[in-house]
C-alpha cells in the first residue's frame, strides 16, 4: 500500500489546482448567473503569458505578472462586453463566452504556435521535496499546493473578512437591495470577475509549468472543471472543493495503481470478447474518462450535484 501516500499528495496537488479554477468559476456563476465557458481559456492565457514573461524576466516575475494581466483582461471583458449582454438574458452571454473559447484558442495558436511551448518550473523547484515510503515527492508539486493554498486563502480572507467581501456576499443573495444601499454592484461584478480570472491566471502560470502549456490545455481542463462544478453542485463552493479533490484523487490513484482491470475483475474474464477488450485496459488509460463517468453517475442519483441547490 505504499502508493497511497504519494498518490494522496498528488491528488491534493492536482485537486487544489483544479479547485483554483472551479472556485473562480463558481463565484462568478453564483453572482452573475452565467456559466463562463471561457474560464479555462483564461487559465491557458495565464500559462502562455507566464511563459512569455518568464523568458524575458524569469519565472517568478511571470508568476506574479501573468495573473494580473489575466485579471485585467477579465475585468475588461466583464465591463465592456458581458455587462451589456447581461441585460439581454443568459443566452447571449453563454454564446459570447463560448465564442471567446474559440477566439482565444486561435489567438494562442497564432502567437505561440500549434505545439506545446517549453514552459517549466525553474531549477530551484526541480528537486525532491522529501522521500517517504520509497517514493520521491517532487518539489514542484509541493509548490503547487503552496501557491494554491496561499491564493485561495487570500480570496477567502477577502470575501469572508473584509467589507468589500461583505458587499460581495450580500450581492450574492440580493444584488438589487445591495444597490439600494448605495453600493455600485456593477463594480462588484467586475471585481469578482477579475478575481476569478486572476485565480485562473495563477492556476495557469503554475499548472502550465508543472503540466503542459499547449493550445489544447484549455479544452482539456475546461471539460474537467465543468464536470467538477456539475458534480459539486452549481454555485456551491463547498461542492466544488470536494469534487475537485475527488477528481484530482481519482486520476492520481488510477495512475498510481496502474493495474489492469482484468486483475481486479478476474471472474468476468472470457464472458465476451468486447468485455475482454475493456478488461485489458489499464486503469491509467481509464483516468481521462473517469470524471465523465463520475458526472453521469452523480447526475443519475443526484441531479443537483453533491451540494447544489438547483438541478442542472
Amino acid at each position: 500500500m505504499d502508493f497511497i501516500f504519494p498518490a494522496a499528495l498528488n491528488a491534493i496537488s492536482y485537486g487544489l489546482l483544479l479547485f483554483m479554477l472551479a472556485a473562480g468559476l463558481t463565484l462568478v456563476f453564483s453572482l452573475m448567473g452565467v456559466m463562463n465557458f471561457a474560464h479555462a481559456s483564461l487559465y491557458m492565457l495565464g500559462a502562455y503569458f507566464a511563459y512569455s514573461i518568464a523568458r524575458q524576466a524569469g519565472f517568478w516575475v511571470g508568476l506574479v505578472a501573468a495573473p494580473l494581466l489575466v485579471a485585467g483582461l477579465g475585468m475588461l471583458i466583464e465591463r465592456h462586453v458581458l455587462r451589456h449582454l447581461h441585460a439581454r438574458g443568459h443566452i447571449p452571454e453563454l454564446l459570447f463566452t463560448f465564442g471567446l473559447v474559440l477566439v482565444i484558442e486561435e489567438i494562442v495558436k497564432l502567437v505561440w504556435g500549434l505545439g506545446a511551448v517549453d514552459y517549466r518550473v525553474p531549477p530551484e523547484l526541480r528537486g525532491t521535496l522529501f522521500e517517504a515510503f520509497g517514493t520521491r515527492f517532487p518539489m514542484h508539486k509541493g509548490f503547487v499546493i503552496l501557491v494554491a493554498l496561499a491564493s485561495l486563502g487570500a480570496i477567502w480572507w477577502l470575501i469572508a473578512r473584509t467589507r468589500t467581501g461583505l458587499v460581495v456576499r450580500a450581492a450574492l443573495a440580493n444584488p438589487a437591495m445591495v444597490e439600494s444601499l448605495g453600493h455600485d454592484v456593477g463594480r462588484i461584478f467586475t471585481l469578482v470577475f477579475g478575481l476569478g480570472a486572476g485565480l485562473a491566471g495563477i492556476a495557469g502560470a503554475v499548472g502550465g509549468a508543472v503540466l503542459v502549456t499547449e493550445p489544447a490545455m484549455a479544452a482539456h481542463l475546461g471539460t474537467i472543471i465543468f464536470v467538477i462544478v456539475v458534480v459539486g453542485g452549481l454555485g456551491s463552493i463547498k461542492g466544488a472543493f470536494i469534487a475537485s479533490l475527488l477528481i484530482g484523487g481519482l486520476e492520481s490513484v488510477l495512475i498510481a495503481i496502474d493495474v489492469r482491470l482484468s486483475d481486479l475483475l478476474m471472474p468476468l474474464k472470457g464472458l465476451s470478447s468486447g468485455l475482454d477488450a475493456v478488461l485489458a485496459l489499464k486503469a491509467s488509460q481509464l483516468a481521462p474518462i473517469l470524471p465523465y463517468l463520475l458526472m453521469v453517475a452523480v447526475l443519475v442519483f443526484r441531479p443537483r450535484g453533491l451540494f447544489g441547490e438547483r438541478e442542472v
Binding site: 461583505l166 456576499r169 450580500a170 443573495a173 438589487a176 437591495m177 444597490e179 439600494s180 448605495g182 454592484v185
Partner: protein
C-alpha cells in the same frame, strides 16, 4: 414667506415593467421634514412608485431631490444622494448577521458622496431597537418578522438619509409589533426626518402623516390633509376601502 424647494418633487412620472405601464403622470411632493403618506388599493402601483423614486424601475418624467434631477440615476446613485429605502418585503440579508446588515447600510469613503442627512450609527440603531442589539451576532434570517422590519429600518437609517421611503412596514406583523413600528415612525418624524410612507392601515397612515396622496390605477386621485381624506367618504369608498 420665501418658497421652499421641496425635498422631493415628482412631475408627471410614468413607470412600469417592460411594456406594461403601471404609473401614469404621477406628480407629488415631499417637503423638508415632512411625513407624507401614499395610500391606495392593492395593485394600485404604490410599491412601483416608491421603486421609481429609488431608481429600481425604469421611469420617465422628472424626479427632483432638493431641485436636483435624480430621475435618470441608477439605484446606488439615488441612495448615495440620501434616499433610503425600506422595501415592502424587508429584503434583509438572511445569511448575514444583524450587525453585518447594518454595516452594509453605511456607505464609506467615496460612496458617501454628497450625503448630508440624518446622522445615524450602529449604536443609535441598538438604542432605538434594543432587540437588535441583543441579536447583533445572530443571522438576520432567524429574526421574527417584526425584528426583521426593525432591521430594515435601522439599515436604511445607517445611510444617513435625507428622505426615507417606507413601503408597507406593518404588513403581516402582530398588533404589538404594528404599534412599535408606528411609534418608530413617529419618533423619526419628530426627529425631523422626511418620510414617504406607503401604509395599508389607513388609521396609522393618517395619524402619522401631515399630508396624504391616494393612488388609484396608477394615477394620483386625491391629494390633501389627513383630516380632509378622513372626511371625504367618496374618495375612501372609491379608491381605498375594499
Amino acid at each position: 414667506m420665501a418658497e421652499t424647494v421641496p425635498l422631493l418633487a415628482l412631475d408627471r412620472v410614468s413607470a412600469g415593467y417592460g411594456p406594461t405601464r403601471v404609473l401614469f403622470d404621477v406628480s407629488l411632493e415631499v417637503n423638508p421634514g415632512e411625513t407624507v403618506t401614499l395610500v391606495g388599493r392593492n395593485g394600485a402601483g404604490r410599491s412601483t412608485l416608491v421603486k421609481a423614486i429609488a431608481g429600481r424601475v425604469a421611469r420617465q418624467g422628472s424626479i427632483r431631490l432638493s431641485g436636483e434631477e435624480i430621475g435618470g440615476l441608477r439605484a446606488f446613485e439615488v441612495a448615495r444622494r440620501g434616499v433610503a429605502y425600506v422595501p415592502e418585503n424587508r429584503e434583509i440579508f438572511a445569511d448575514l448577521t444583524v450587525e453585518e446588515n447594518l454595516v452594509l447600510g453605511a456607505p464609506v469613503g467615496k460612496e458617501r458622496g454628497a450625503m448630508e442627512g440624518f446622522a445615524w450609527s450602529i449604536a443609535q440603531s441598538y438604542a432605538l431597537f434594543p432587540r437588535l442589539g441583543e441579536r447583533a451576532k445572530a443571522p438576520a434570517g432567524v429574526l421574527s418578522g417584526g425584528e426583521q422590519q426593525m432591521l430594515a429600518f435601522a439599515r436604511a437609517l445607517m445611510g444617513c438619509p435625507r428622505l426615507l421611503l417606507v413601503d408597507e412596514p406593518t404588513e403581516g406583523l402582530s398588533p404589538l409589533m404594528v404599534q412599535l413600528i408606528a411609534e418608530t415612525l413617529v419618533t423619526l418624524r419628530d426627529a425631523g426626518l422626511s418620510i414617504l410612507l406607503v401604509e395599508q392601515k389607513l388609521d396609522i397612515a393618517l395619524d402619522i402623516a401631515a399630508r396624504a396622496y391616494v393612488l388609484g390605477h396608477g394615477s394620483i386621485v386625491f391629494a390633501g390633509s389627513p383630516s380632509e381624506l378622513r372626511s371625504c367618504e367618496s374618495i375612501r369608498r372609491a379608491w381605498i376601502e375594499v
